[in-house]
Symmetry: C2
Subunit: 302 residues, 2 copies
């Protein structure tokens, strides 16, 4: 089972470009799962696909900071083929073309859980990862006849100003493979017009990204500061540990995010294959695919 999201927030425009980006991500991850691949590889492949699309606020589509710099954050958590649980992330990175691959490299190295800034960049370079194309340093809508401004576009007159448009376009994936392993991956260019160096919940294990084997995989999006303060993913996990059903745990965790003044969305996948897609932001781009089911698209609620 595989689910993806492409951000939640008021800045979203439902579009074919976004739907195509989600579908391509599902296809990329699903090809691995269907071939007997692991959940971690599938989640990473799905996120890398969305990073490459240029449609979302991640990887090639990352939006600039107030200083005009592109800074990306990402994290992954899952299990290696040998059974070792791994997790790791990078933040305020400028080097990698695919921040999620840098996060995976941090996780596989198994030393640090989070690398920041120049150290993260150098680690990505030393890991042999491809460098971000300098020509992609300014966010552009994806090319093509049906191109419309992506969810990460700078808020225009039709967008709600302020924090509710933050982090729109963050991408993420959760996966459950045939062996029962769970994985999660999240990648973001930060919120639109953020200060240089600003880090949200995406690269923080236990906030925006989490995979607790036998329990739940989580990728969140939204106003990162509130998700960190709420300890979003950990909060869900603790509630599950106490016997709370997943939907109720998610509802309570969004309540905590709201108490810290934030909103957003998340995809959550239980070890039994239960999928919860939840958001209290005006819109969320999302899609999922299970063994005999394929659905992708973007809906707008309220």
């Amino acid at each position: 089972m595989l689910a993806v999201h492409g951000g939640a927030g008021a800045g979203h425009a439902a579009s074919e470009v976004v739907a195509r980006g989600l579908t391509a991500a599902l296809d990329a991850g699903w090809a691995l799962l269907a071939g007997g691949g692991g959940a971690l590889d599938a989640a990473v492949a799905a996120v890398a696909s969305m990073e490459d699309s240029g449609v979302f606020n991640a990887g090639r589509g990352a939006v600039p900071t107030t200083a005009g710099t592109i800074e990306t954050d990402a994290a992954v958590m899952g299990v290696l083929p040998g059974g070792r649980e791994v997790s790791g992330g990078g933040c305020a990175m400028t080097w990698p073309a695919n921040p999620v691959l840098a996060a995976r490299a941090v996780a596989l190295a198994g030393d640090a859980l989070l690398l920041a800034g120049e150290g993260a960049d150098r680690f990505a370079e030393d890991s042999g990862l491809a460098r971000r194309d300098p020509g992609s340093l300014v966010h552009r809508p994806a090319p093509g006849p049906t191109a419309v401004p992506g969810p990460a576009a700078v808020p225009g007159p039709s967008s709600v100003p302020g924090p509710s448009s933050s982090s729109a376009g963050t991408v993420g994936a959760v996966a459950l493979d045939a062996t029962g392993n769970l994985a999660a991956a999240t990648s973001t260019g930060g919120r639109s017009g953020q200060a240089p160096g600003r880090v949200g919940d995406s690269p923080i294990i236990g906030s925006g990204t989490w995979a607790d084997q036998g329990r739940v995989a989580i990728s969140a999006t939204g106003e990162g500061e509130a998700f960190v303060r709420a300890g979003f993913a950990h909060r869900v996990d603790f509630a599950l540990d106490a016997g709370t059903p997943l939907p109720e745990a998610v509802r309570a965790a969004f309540g905590a995010v709201a108490r810290w003044g934030g909103s957003g969305g998340a995809i959550l996948l239980g070890a039994d294959g239960e999928l919860v897609v939840a958001f209290d932001a005006p819109a969320m781009a999302r899609g999922w695919r299970a063994v005999a089911e394929h659905e992708a698209g973007l809906e707008r609620l309220r």
Copy 2:
């Protein structure tokens, strides 16, 4: 009430220098509390004192990375005189002489929760904070006739190698002021011999630093990766929310840290003034001061 710690780990050497550093930190914070100052200012002053001492792995005493760079992390959480709750942190910083002041500046700005690397440095500079003395770029034991290698010294033959010597010398403080406000502050130079860019639990709100008004203030130290994975401070807070007594909540949270392969210590201060000092590392430098009580020193257990 005010409590401070100077790190937990096997690398600790009980020394008069450390005891003096803790005492000076308590004095600095206490002077503010006794003068009617707020918990946040007191916690920050106590941590800044330890940063300035050169004795701990924070501020002036921060240990270098494998690349020889000094990179510091810090976070604060508390309440401003007007009643506004604030929290913030910085990581992988090289500029500020007092990383805890940079964290406070992030918190007061109220925009980002965490700034990383170059962006954090520039923010500290723009905030008018003093620059780290380039002459302090290599960790030295504190001067003076009784100087002995501080807790942050590079592990020698008498130290246990491996992760149990990590993060020794991180400093932190928790405070409760006369109006009932809680605050926490933590500052670190990272673990000894860490990779450039590596970020532990100290600057992550909800992991190594936390102050939930009316409930608990927390500053932790130890193997940061395990504290982040365990969601240490959030875990304690969630348990308190469920009615678990503080000592039991702390014990359970250390159990979670241990399940993630880590150990360390923490100081926790309840809204009713209950202080819990807990560590499962071989040693922890700590001290505390209440209205009519003053105790500071370093003990070694087991």
